[in-house]
């Protein structure tokens, strides 16, 4: 029996990921403006999906209130740029501040279970929305534009936002990758599979969940700040809308809950679905809700879960793989 972390597929994946990354860096030199803008949106979706997956897929925490961090990330960016700080520095500071804020929130909210945690987070998002509305700078639901962006010419602005999104996405995914492979991550995956069993072998679920909660808050805030840079205007109602969490849930459920590759696949699918069907308006949203519902009922592991179990492919090695088990060791147990 052999236990190893990677396999032939993951080595190929490494080369493919490196190639895609280099291609994405070189892309602005020949791609059209529209392609770059759409890709920026895609990167933000991938961040959102990966962050929700961190929380739900690995932490077993279903939150309906991640729009709290998304909205706060955008709001904090507005506030910080208002102090004459470059918006691209501001969005990182904003995400860090929201990450800090999520620490006291986590000590409180992680005491709640399942549905209570889910709606409790939604209430917090509503509180965040109402409090941001009280800030005179935001002018209530009218909102405000990120005027500081106007100091950049339209071309360089687009390029900077594209790179900011690309770097954020790559950084967060890489961070998540190492987080999952760390001791805490292995503990987290143990908790995902069976909390009581993990507890019995000495996994401190509380502490690990807290770190994942903070990481997800930081990443989601960064996604919110990037969305603000990309959309350039802030209306509290839009940014604190539960719609964002609905999108995250759709992406993760369809792609594969608790699978690293699943969130990315889900974000890609969502991006395609949005591009094709967003024009159908309400029916598109009905479809998203229905697909999310059906996926959670019939394919709780999502598309990637099906691929993984059918073909036993792991592209991104976040766990351990056991190979070379002697067949008779199974048959004896029977």
């Amino acid at each position: 029996m052999k236990i190893k972390r990677s396999n032939a597929y993951s080595k190929v994946t490494l080369y493919v990921v490196a190639a895609v990354f280099i291609a994405l860096i070189l892309l602005p030199s020949f791609a059209s403006n529209n392609v770059m803008e759409r890709l920026t949106v895609l990167f933000i979706y991938i961040i959102m999906a990966a962050m929700w997956n961190t929380l739900a897929g690995f932490g077993g925490l279903i939150s309906i209130g991640q729009q709290l961090f998304f909205g706060l990330g955008a709001y904090a960016t507005i506030r910080i740029t208002n102090m004459a700080i470059s918006p691209f520095v501001a969005l990182l500071i904003a995400a860090c501040l929201v990450g800090l804020l999520s620490w006291p929130i986590s000590t409180f909210m992680l005491r709640l279970k399942a549905g209570e945690f889910a709606i409790g987070m939604w209430v917090l998002a509503s509180i965040g929305h109402l409090l941001v509305n009280l800030d005179p700078l935001i002018q209530g639901e009218t909102g405000i534009s990120l005027i500081a962006l106007n100091q950049y010419a339209i071309e360089s602005r687009r390029l900077l936002i594209y790179f900011a999104a690309l770097v954020s996405m790559s950084g967060l995914l890489l961070g998540l990758f190492y987080l999952l492979r760390s001791k805490a991550g292995i503990a987290m995956q143990a908790i995902r599979d069976n909390e009581e069993a993990a507890d019995s072998i000495g996994v401190d679920a509380e502490k690990v969940k807290k770190w994942f909660f903070i990481f997800a808050a930081f990443g989601t805030a960064l996604a919110g700040a990037l969305w603000l840079a990309q959309a350039s205007s802030f209306q509290p109602k839009t940014y604190f809308s539960v719609q964002w969490t609905a999108y995250m849930i759709f992406m993760v459920l369809v792609g594969g809950l608790g699978r690293f590759e699943g969130a990315i696949l889900g974000a890609l699918l969502f991006f395609v679905v949005e591009t094709w069907f967003a024009a159908t308006g309400v029916w598109y949203l009905v479809g998203l809700g229905a697909v999310a519902m059906l996926c959670s009922l019939f394919f709780p592991k999502g598309i990637w879960g099906v691929i993984e179990t059918r073909l036993s492919i792991t592209l991104i090695p976040v766990g351990y793989q056991v190979t070379g088990l002697k067949p008779d060791s199974h048959s004896k147990n029977k």
Binding site: A56, G60, I62, I64, F108, R111, L112, K113, A114, G115, E116, A118, I119, G120, W122, V123, S126, I127, L130, L131, N133, L134, V242, A246, I249, L253, V282, W283, L285, V286, L288, G289, A290, A292, M293, L294, S296, L297, P300
Partner: protein, 301 residues
């Protein structure tokens, strides 16, 4: 001051009404139904549609949609919740949230962005009031409050004194053992979901009578119901009634402090109760705590 307190208590009656179905399902099936608010809005639209088409009083229409919502409740249990609960405690959260999105957007598709109200079909009743000690108290909010008391009292009586109630309580306490003594847990869960949806139908109608609603009003109603349930302690239906009233009073206090403070007041009260439940004696704020002595007496006797 006195006036806003009375108005808050009347509004609390509505919150209690919308919360009792959520709390009932949580007690019996350990499920928080995230589509609760959306289903209330669905029933408000159904009542509106029937009232408008048949030129009936909303009070008659609501009787007609009670069986419809009961069937929806049964289907909800059989088709969705039963399957979801088998997959652990997280799947019901996800599936009911998905259902809420579907309902909200279908309602929007069907009825558009305009807000609706049932009050135009009430004639004089929508503005008639009683004058008591110099306070003007609307008849309609009083009717809603009394309905809340009747619904919660009725549920409480069913749970306490009928064979069905005993079966429901037994299933809620321990479904496996209840099964051993011959209770069909599946049937009980179906009936409980049907009962919960009938209270949802009444609460949706109450919302439509008291004010306006639109396709996306389900989310806020869910939050109100959830807050009232948590404030009330989730362990008894009368606790939830009290929770609704405390929530409404907190909102009025919030509105007194700041013009935009209505919702914030309620949310903060919710957080205070949640905080107290987590860090102090978990039961301090529930009726159970205060009546614990009597309950202990019952158990030993």
């Amino acid at each position: 001051m006195m006036n806003s307190l009375v108005q808050a208590i009347l509004l609390g009656g509505y919150y209690a009404l919308v919360a009792c179905g959520l709390a009932f399902m949580f007690q019996v099936m350990r499920i928080i139904n995230l589509a609760h608010g959306s289903l209330a809005i669905l029933s408000a639209y159904l009542v509106w549609e029937i009232t408008d088409a048949l030129a009936l009083s909303p009070f008659v229409s609501v009787l007609m949609i009670l069986p419809i919502m009961a069937i929806i409740g049964l289907l909800l249990q059989r088709v969705i919740l039963e399957r979801a609960t088998k997959g652990g405690e997280l799947l019901p959260v996800l599936t009911t949230f998905g259902l809420a999105i579907v309902i909200d957007n279908l309602l929007f598709q069907q009825f558009g962005a305009n807000t609706r109200s049932l009050s135009p079909y009430l004639g004089d009743l929508s503005w008639e009031s009683y004058e008591i000690f110099g306070l003007w108290i609307g008849k309609l909010p009083v009717i809603v409050l009394i309905t809340a008391i009747v619904v919660i009292g009725g549920l409480d009586l069913i749970l306490r004194f009928t064979p069905l109630g005993r079966q429901i309580r037994a299933t809620a306490f321990d479904p496996d053992t209840a099964g051993l003594v011959g209770i069909d847990a599946r049937k009980i869960a179906g009936i409980s979901a049907a009962i919960a949806m009938m209270t949802v139908a009444i609460s949706g109608t109450a919302l439509g009578l008291r004010g306006t609603f639109d396709a996306y009003a389900g989310g806020p109603q869910l939050l109100f119901a959830f807050e009232a349930t948590i404030i009330g302690g989730a362990s008894s239906l009368w606790g939830v009634f009290l929770g609704g009233i405390i929530l409404a009073i907190a909102q009025s206090i919030g509105a007194l402090i700041h013009p935009q403070g209505f919702l914030l007041g309620g949310h903060f009260m919710f957080l205070i109760f949640l905080f107290a439940r987590i860090y102090f004696n978990r039961d301090v704020f529930t009726l159970k705590h205060w009546f614990a002595k009597r309950n202990k007496g019952e158990i030993t006797a």
